[in-house]
């Protein structure tokens, strides 16, 4: 099996600079255990901000940290800082449903997400940090002829990019997942589209792995440093005002999804973004019972089981714009309704915790990795529901753009000006109304 089309992006990778700090391995684990685990050193430094950096990334979430990591490691940029207003990984990288996949329909998306999945597949080794990628497969169920045809179209679009996909019929699904609602479903299950290489990863570990990797390549990770203003002179950005004072920079990259509009406004950017709240849930820990990531085609429900045993699931956004990291009870109920409709046996499973993240919902449901009208200001936003799986490629492509000033081929359609120019990437065909995507 070959994955030629996506591999073409991977060969630009080089290794710059020296890596500092402790290396993780089974050997290190044994050695440390025998010394009472007293010898472990910090995963990253806590540096004071320097007066000036070549590149500043605003946002110490998954995408910001990945960007800094790849800037330093792949593109040889030396003097980088990541500014984070909370703690590292305190945004959506730590509050998603951990799904990793590349089963997209449109040519603007599929190569990008496949590039990302390729990066995922070597990420643990690359970072020297086990992000616990679990390629258990994702199955998108479908419930009507029209739905089936749309999935066939998508599966073939994936294959066009060299991404294997399989169409499963009802009988196969019955054998694989007898717990699905085959007998009493209001919307009978007709089949499903399987991407075997999709799965989940441990979300926090992704943030920490990139943070540690970036730090080992000399990036300054500055926590509790809120950007309050973007200073411009002669039409270019010269630095940022922060809660810890002014910090100068040569280039500025924004990776603050959820708060993109707020940060963008500091530079006068007008953006095709609305912030929406998406809730997610986890059940009490259960012995393994759901082996795949499964999505419900007659609704928006998706579920998988974490390595700790909790069933992690969610559905659609609440639908109104919000910056509050909490959602409403009606949406909670709706998510559960979809859950028991798809898997009746969930009925007695107890839900432990709900949480919510603020999504950058873009006008076509697809992300933006782009330069802006300001020469040295770069933008990474609009991840909608899909930011987690994109983390490595988002970081890689954004780093590419910042370092080289040119768009990475995998992200060449994700431009900010696509709306004006009439090239939306509308995976759901829902049009410029963010809460429909």
């Amino acid at each position: 099996m070959t994955f030629a089309p996506a591999c073409r992006y991977a060969n630009v990778r080089e290794n710059h600079g020296t890596v500092k700090g402790m290396r993780y391995s089974a050997f290190a684990l044994v050695k440390q255990a025998l010394q009472g685990n007293r010898g472990w050193t910090p995963a990253w430094r806590e540096p004071q901000p320097k007066p000036h950096y070549d590149v500043i990334i605003v946002g110490g979430g998954g995408h910001g940290l990945a960007t800094a990591y790849y800037l330093a490691k792949e593109f040889g940029v030396k003097n980088i800082a990541v500014l984070e207003k909370g703690y590292l990984g305190s945004g959506n990288v730590g509050r998603n449903t951990t799904i990793v996949r590349s089963n997209y329909l449109l040519p603007g998306n599929e190569p990008f997400y496949e590039f990302s999945l390729k990066l995922w597949e070597g990420l643990g080794q690359d970072l020297n940090y086990n992000v616990m990628l679990s390629q258990r497969g994702i199955i998108n169920l479908f419930h009507s002829d029209a739905d089936r045809d749309a999935h066939i179209r998508r599966g073939n679009a994936m294959w066009m990019e060299g991404v294997p996909a399989e169409l499963l019929d009802r009988e196969t699904l019955k054998k694989m997942m007898p717990f699905l609602n085959f007998d009493h479903a209001r919307f009978p299950i007709m089949g499903g589209l399987l991407q075997k290489r999709a799965g989940t990863a441990r979300h926090d570990a992704v943030a920490w792995g990139f943070a540690r990797g970036a730090d080992r390549h000399g990036v300054d990770l500055i926590q509790h440093c809120e950007v309050t203003g973007i200073r411009r002179e002669n039409g270019v950005v010269v630095g940022v005002e922060t809660s810890r004072g002014f910090i100068g920079c040569g280039k500025l990259g924004l990776a603050a999804a959820g708060n993109t509009s707020v940060v963008g406004q500091m530079a006068g950017l007008k953006l095709p973004i609305e912030s929406h709240v998406l809730q997610a849930f986890v059940t009490e820990g259960l012995k393994p019972c759901i082996d795949h990531v499964i999505t419900y085609g007659a609704g928006h429900f998706y579920i998988s089981q974490s390595d700790k045993g909790g069933l992690v699931f969610g559905a659609e956004i609440d639908g109104y714009s919000s910056y509050a990291q909490r959602g409403g009870l009606a949406t909670v109920e709706h998510v559960m309704e979809e859950g028991v409709t798809m898997i009746p046996g969930l009925s007695r499973v107890r839900v432990l915790r709900s949480w919510a993240g603020v999504m950058d919902m873009s006008m076509d449901g697809s992300p933006i990795i782009s330069r802006t009208d300001i020469d040295n200001l770069y933008l990474n936003c609009g991840w909608c529901y899909g930011g987690f799986k994109a983390t490595p490629a988002s970081g890689f492509c954004f780093a590419h753009l910042i370092a080289k000033g040119e768009t990475h081929p995998a992200a060449r359609f994700l431009r900010l000006d696509r709306f004006e120019r009439g090239y939306p990437i509308d995976e759901h065909g829902a049009g410029p109304q963010p809460n429909l995507h």
Binding site: A4, L34, E284, K287, K308, T341, G345, G429
Partner: protein, 986 residues
């Protein structure tokens, strides 16, 4: 034997015995017991294995915060995994099983992990399992996954039912302990509509286990009397077994009532759980406080519990946790437990007080009190036998069979902090309190930091009086009940008992011990949220109820700062776990969504239709006749019959909207991209509606019945969306236009009568002349059926045949359809369904939402010339001219015919140039719809192909990699039958 049922006392009904089983062994308990108290009374100390190290565990608490004693209750599809034994109400026949062990609770192989624990330090999995790469997926990850979880979910269909309710009140009181009860009395007497919710099956909270006297009686008698009074007040609703789990906007609270979780055989007509949304003008949290465990070496051995739990088991359940109980305390509360136990005749091994300056207590003169000391280890395998304490560098071993730990108190502020408010540190109380969260919610009693009974009673009454006054109710001051002598609840915090000789656990279930927190800090995960995520402290089923504040305190100590600076992790719903079933209610299975049926559904059923889901609708899909074995046979027959004779199809599900007003024409002209203003009365026109971004939104027909009266149809799927869109345009964009409209989808039964013989059939039914001259193609009008019924007739066609759509009021639908079939019998009429409809439209190249997928412009689908250039404005006009929407290389709709007639083309296949390698860049387009054309005898398809209209005649590869099929096809015009539309106009 160590734990036992006391000879007397407690609120259990000793006259009745209840049989139950745990891991197959039979035990007896009493009504009023929890599973935990009954097991303890039977000296069953070992109840569970911890998550990571599989350490033997017993009870730690007597309530909702229990981290250890999780069991599976019930059997088969009625199994409830991970149920806390401490809140499970005992009933006769209860079956409980321990979890997370193999082969048995006593001998558990998983306990090997305990020996390996140095290698399994916090976050160990992030640092290894990476080499060789393939081993992660094949070996390591499956191993980790197998170890996952505690209980086993059966995932079988739940036989029980659930329901949801709303309730409204002036005041919701959460918790029926001293503060909650006294608040309820004050508010209830003042006339407020009060809901008093209590998670326990017995109301009274801490009053049920407090030995302090009130008005000369025991506290539980006071609780009984208060509840009896409240029960007489019509404005007060008592809700036992009801957990308020979440606080949402507008002071709406989510609560779940366990209606029948405490019975062996639920009554079928009642739900087992009921979700309440409680809309409360005000809410008062009287949720009490949680006693803190002390973090010392060996603090997880079965027999070590919080002192308040030991007190509760003794006072409320009449169960002694041991015969010789040691109390380990850093405050005065532990002494009260000791006094309670002595009163019950239980021996006290010693009181070990971490304070050197602990005050003397008179009534414990005979008890050995060791001040300035700390327990550093425990011994005894699977049940506690001895403790080791250390004082001034000397160690001593004391025999004991239970330890009550009393580390101070944490107010239960969960609900108050669910909506973004951060808890604030109180250095006075050495714990986190809820901040002022605003007018809707107040906090009373121990939850507000008042730890004595008298203070709780007073605070509850006072807060309720304030709320009542705020809401305009007159409150009469009642005399406060007289409370007996109370213990000063002060304590001197000790977050971590130094000198631990074995693991000192912070989070029991997840096996997080103090050193794990130290490791997290050392590795840079000292932020409380990082520490939580790195060590999993607070992520177990108790969500940090016991461990959260201790972890903050320990981290603060290690970092050398105040816990105020460390903070505490975010509280989020649910306060305690809630079942999917309760939250989903009745919306499941066939009730997941409403089912819509056409007014002709019965007619279709009588004619043998097979139905198919189409959104919410059930539509007739094909009408098999005897001898037909597949849907294709039926569909082919139906199609050919329509092409040769005539057929009747139910099209009632199309969205139908009546539009009136002097500006109706102008309104529709702005709504559709093609011209509508000059549509003549009595005519219909195909209409294309765009979104504001220039992409096709929906299509349908527009018919004009009068100067100011139109009738428009939408596709079935977008009927609701189009109506809403029209309302938006009329109300918000153009409020000055005089236009009114309403949906009449359900008011009309509409049938399409199509085929060369359609006129003969329709004419036979109606009075009016519908000859081609009198009623040409695209005519519409009101006609009179023979018999006098007024109907609407539209000469429109979705099959390419001579066709009429006949609309009658819904109630007449079935009779009229029968009459049509009768009138058509001589002409060979047949009923045809959605499948045939689809083939007929495909043969003619008509589009549906398979083509209009939300990314297609009118020009893409061949409607470019229809878009009015003259109109100054319509929805979508401006953005439809964007470069990308008019580019020459866009995919355009074409037809496809297989090069070899017997080859299949499937919708969803993609298109490649002959000889091109499959790749996203080479992708030329896709097949949107395909079918077998019985008229042509081969497959046909509609497809979207880059610059397609320039490519008629090209041979192209239809690439269906999912099926491993490649088919050569010829690109053609997207019309396969009657390209000049001659048949339409005869």
């Amino acid at each position: 034997m160590t734990a036992y049922r006391l000879p007397e006392g407690g609120l259990v009904d000793r006259t009745t015995s209840l049989d139950f089983r745990f891991d197959g062994t039979r035990f007896k308990g009493h009504p009023g017991d929890t599973l935990a108290s009954a097991l303890l009374a039977n000296d069953q100390l070992l109840l569970a294995r911890s998550f990571k190290y599989h350490r033997p565990r017993g009870l730690v608490t007597a309530g909702v915060s229990e981290p250890n004693a999780l069991v599976s209750i019930g059997s088969g599809a009625r199994t409830d995994a991970n149920t806390r034994a401490t809140v499970a109400e005992l009933y006769a026949g209860l079956e409980a099983r321990s979890q997370n062990n193999w082969p048995s609770l006593k001998y558990d192989i998983g306990a090997l992990n305990n020996l390996l624990s140095p290698f399994l330090s916090a976050g160990f999995y992030y640092k290894t399992f990476m080499w060789p790469a393939a081993f992660w997926e094949k070996l390591y990850e499956p191993l980790i996954r197998r170890a996952a979880g505690l209980g086993r979910a059966v995932l079988e269909r739940d036989p029980e039912s659930y329901e949801k309710c709303w309730t409204h009140c002036d005041l919701l009181i959460v918790g029926s302990g001293p503060a909650g009860l006294s608040a309820a009395l004050t508010a209830g007497r003042a006339g407020l509509r009060v809901v008093l919710a209590e998670q326990d099956f017995r109301m009274g909270g801490a009053l049920l286990s407090d030995s302090t006297a009130i008005d000369g009686n025991s506290a539980s008698v006071f609780a009984e009397a208060s509840l009896a009074e409240l029960a007489t007040l019509p404005n007060v609703t008592l809700m036992p077994r009801t957990t308020v789990f979440g606080w949402y906007d507008d002071n709406v609270f989510g609560a779940v009532e366990r209606v029948q979780k405490h019975v062996a055989q639920p009554i079928a007509k009642l739900p087992v759980e009921r979700l309440w949304r409680i809309a409360a003008k005000r809410a008062l949290l009287a949720t009490g406080a949680e006693e803190r465990p002390l973090v010392f070496g060996g603090n997880d051995r079965p027999g070590v519990m919080t002192a308040s739990a030991i007190g509760t088991y003794a006072n409320r359940f009449g169960v002694a946790a041991g015969k010789s109980v040691a109390i380990f305390t850093n405050g005065n509360a532990g002494y009260r437990t000791a006094a309670d136990l002595l009163r019950h005749g239980v021996g006290i091994a010693a009181i070990i007080d971490t304070r050197s300056d602990a005050p003397a207590v008179d009534d414990l003169k005979d008890v050995r009190i060791i001040k300035g000391a700390g327990i550093v280890d425990t011994m005894g395998g699977q049940r506690l036998g001895k403790l080791v304490f250390e004082r001034s560098g000397y160690e001593e071993v004391i025999a004991c069979d239970a330890i009550g730990m009393s580390g101070g108190f944490n107010p239960v502020i969960h609900l108050a902090c669910q909506r973004g408010a951060r808890p604030v540190w109180s250095s006075e109380l050495d714990t986190f309190l809820a901040p002022d969260v605003g007018g809707g919610l107040s906090i009373a009693g121990a939850a507000a930091g008042y730890y004595t009974l008298s203070a709780c009673l007073a605070d509850g009454a006072e807060k309720a009086a304030t709320i009542a006054a705020d809401l305009g109710f007159a409150v009469t001051a009642d005399e406060a009940p007289a409370v007996g002598e109370e213990v000063d609840p002060s304590f001197t915090t000790l977050w971590y008992v130094p000198g631990a000789k074995s693991k000192a656990f912070v989070d029991f279930q997840n096996d997080v011990h103090a050193r794990d927190l130290g490791l997290a800090l050392r590795e840079g995960f000292g932020h409380i949220e990082h520490a939580k995520r790195y060590t999993t402290n607070g992520m177990a089923t108790d969500q940090g109820k016991l461990s959260g504040v201790n972890a903050a305190g320990i981290l603060a100590g290690m970092r050398g700062v105040s816990p105020a600076e460390v903070g505490i992790t975010t509280f989020r719903p649910f306060y305690t776990p809630v079942s999917f079933g309760a939250l989903a209610g009745t919306a499941r299975d066939m009730h997941a969504a409403p089912k819509r049926v056409s007014p002709l559904h019965g007619w279709a059923e009588r004619n043998g239709a097979v139905f198919v889901e189409a959104g919410l609708w059930h539509r007739s899909s094909w009408f098999p006749r005897e001898g037909e074995r597949t849907w294709r046979q039926t569909t082919d027959r139906e199609v050919l019959n329509v092409r040769e004779n005539v057929g009747l199809c139910d099209v009632s599900t199309l969205g139908k909207i009546e539009v009136f007003g002097t500006d109706a024409a102008e309104f529709l002209n702005r709504l559709y991209c093609n011209a509508m203003a000059k549509l003549p009365i009595g005519k219909a026109r195909y209409g294309l509606m765009l979104r504001e971004d220039g992409i096709v939104y929906d299509d349908g027909t527009v018919s004009r019945f009068g100067e100011n009266h139109f009738f428009v149809t939408t596709t079935t799927g977008l009927a609701a969306g189009v109506l809403s869109h029209m309302e938006y345009c009329a109300q918000v964009l153009w409020p000055d236009l005089d236009v009114r409209f309403t949906s009449v989808t359900d008011q009309w039964a509409q049938m399409s009568i199509a085929g060369p013989k359609a006129r003969a059939v329709v004419q036979a039914m109606i009075e009016d002349d519908i000859s081609n001259v009198a009623f040409p193609y695209l005519s519409v009008g009101v006609v009179t059926l023979k018999g006098g019924l007024k109907a609407r007739l539209f000469r429109i066609s979705f099959s390419g045949e001579l066709a009429y759509e006949l609309a009658v009021p819904a109630g007449y639908g079935e009779s009229v359809a029968d009459a049509v079939i009768e009138a058509g019998r001589a002409h060979g009429i047949c009923a045809y369904g959605l499948e045939a409809l689809n083939v007929l439209r495909l043969e003619k190249g008509y589009v549906t939402h398979a083509e209009f997928d939300g990314r297609v412009t009118p020009d893409d689908a061949g409607f470019g010339r229809m878009v009015s250039a003259q109109k100054p404005d319509f929805i979508g006009k401006r953005l439809s001219t964007r470069y990308g929407l008019t580019a020459a290389d866009r995919m355009q709709m074409v037809g496809l015919k297989p090069a070899e007639k017997d080859k299949t083309i499937r919708a969803g296949a993609h298109l490649l140039k002959d000889g091109a390698k499959p790749s996203t860049i080479n992708d030329q387009g896709y097949v949107s719809s395909a079918c077998f054309s019985p008229v042509l005898g081969h497959d046909i398809a509609l497809a979207f192909l880059k610059s397609g209209r320039e490519r008629y005649g090209e041979r192209i590869v239809v690439w269906d990699r999912l099926k491993n099929e490649e088919t050569m096809a010829e690109v053609c015009e997207p019309v396969f039958v009657d390209p000049l539309s001659a048949k339409l106009k005869v």
